[in-house]
Amino acid sequence: MASPDAEQAAPTEPARWRDLDMLLSRPGNLVAASFDPSPTLRDLLGSLVEVLVVGAGGLGCELLKDLALSGFKKLHVIDMDTIDVSNLNRQFLFRVQDVGKSKAEVAANRVMERVSGVNIVPHFCRIEDKEIEFYSQFHIIVLGLDSIEARSYINSVACGFLEYDSNDNPLEETVKPMVDGGTEGFKGHARVIIPGTTPCFECNIWLFPPQVKFPLCTLAETPRTAAHCIEYAHLIKWDEVHPGKPFDADDAEHMQWIYSEALKRAELFGISGVTYSLTQGVVKNIIPAIASTNAIISAACALEAFKLISGCSKNVSNYLTYNGLEGTHIKVTEFVRDKDCLVCGPGTLIELDTSSTLAEFIKMLEEHPKLRISKASVTHEGNNLYMQSPEVLEQMTRPNLSLPMFELLKEVPYATVHATGMAENNGKKVSSLRKLRVAFKGVGASKMDTAESS
């Protein structure tokens, strides 16, 4: 709607957006250095900024509504799920008649109906189904997810756009910021990830402890809780009765079977509490969701996205946790980056001649003052170029040693490879995994000093 010259024109609908305009038209001590207050910023934000919301569940519904009401007008939402009747208590954009339809599509339409001027493009598919290029069109990615796996995937895609200059400083135009929200019952977090500046998801993945798992023998021998009975049916009984048939948690018949088996087992051991919804919860590892926690976390995320894009105030630095379990606690922790992070770190730049062989490259890694990796194994985008061990892989990859790296890397001017080996760390040789930016001399010269990373 706004033309590229919007800053010349008077802002549209000033009455409707009075509060946003106040934030955008006043100077302050906490604004970004480049912030130039003006009410026309709001039209720029609406017309220029493309936002991707990942997930259209409990958090996603809130995020779409909050972002649309914060002046963002070009939104996309991606979610592979369809609406289940159990979602309706908190995923407030959905109605009974929507059950079975795509969450992304219904959520997009409902917000567009209610907030005039906003355009939301739904994507009813898995995040992995999209080409990597799809993600490059967005200025910011907001995550409303409940799985580590999906977060890790989006994080590596967003960090994959990041490029560094020859001094290992991130190139601003390649930075794809993310705002990540998450809730579990009464607890939640909102974090700002600016790849190359703040820690990425992988830098502090230890913040997410591995999911609690029951010992198999307890399930088989001494079940004590309803959850034990459900996991027994899910992990042991299913394979026993359906050999070779994979269990599908999204198949209602499969779930019903697990439920009835769990019920039988619970009766056998005199255990109460097995219900269909508990069965779903245990098998899919669903933590009870609370609408208000989602609302609080989403509000924090939408505000961070708004500040990040407009520069009208400082962002949280960099991880906000909310705990509503005992009273209300909100705390912000500044986590630090892992300088050797394989996903967001710069890696080490290595320049090669197009004639350098893999064997010569491995020797360079050993002699490189910053690396000193001995006995390196080398991999490139899932292609194992050389493996020192085990023997069977060494034999399969040995023929590559005499080939030029340029040929092995499919003649691209620059590439990211990873090397594993023993490297020196504080005087001790320890096993290390390193990211390397390989650039070929005399190829794609314009980008020589800014070889693409990851």
Binding site: L44, L45, E149, E173, T174, A220, E221, I236, S377, P390
Partner: protein, 183 residues
């Protein structure tokens, strides 16, 4: 930091930044960590590893254990490993492909080994699991049974347990259950 005027300027040279190579499928952090685990494997003499899908699929592999001590000497046991994309946050799924008479492995190949489930930690690695599996053969444990009958025999009558193991590995019946030969 990001701001609107920069985004505005950026619009124009979007085409310029796209002149690199097409974005490639990324290797997940889990795949990279596994690459390290595999390149550094230090397998005991009893254990061999193979990659049925070739050198570029490390996420699915098999280990073959030929125990050199204990009840199972002479046997040959194949385990399949399925490594999840979020490895090492989550442990690999390990199953015993060889039908075995063992207190801690059931007839479907489920393995009761603490580090595969409740005691898994991201600092552990494939080597740790391989050693754990070897330990199951040198020291089968009647306290964490998955095969209840085998555990009871091991506890109450180790001599009979030894005979049962021999019979199963040679390809025969223990009770109602038939075990294919695995020596």
């Amino acid at each position: 930091m990001i701001n609107l005027f920069k985004i505005k300027g950026q619009k124009k040279d979007d085409a310029a930044t796209a002149n690199g190579k097409p974005a490639a499928k990324k290797q997940s952090p889990g795949e990279l960590r596994l690459h390290k685990d595999i390149a550094e494997l230090n397998l005991p003499k009893t254990t061999k590893i193979s990659f049925p899908n070739g050198k570029d699929d490390l996420m699915n592999f098999e280990t073959t254990i030929k125990p050199d001590e204990g009840y199972y000497v002479g046997g040959k046991f194949v385990f399949t490993f399925q490594v999840p994309p979020v490895y090492p946050h989550e442990p690999p799924k390990v199953k015993c492909k060889t039908k075995v008479y063992h207190p801690n492995i059931d007839l479907e190949g489920n393995v009761c080994l603490n580090i595969l489930r409740e005691d898994w930690k991201p600092v552990l690695n494939i080597n740790t699991i391989v050693y754990g599996l070897n330990l199951l053969f040198s020291q089968p444990n009647d306290e964490d049974p998955l095969n209840h009958e085998a555990a009871a025999v091991l506890r109450d009558d180790p001599k009979k347990f030894e005979k049962n193991v021999q019979r199963a590995m040679a390809g025969g019946y223990v009770g109602e259950t038939h075990f294919p030969r695995c020596v």
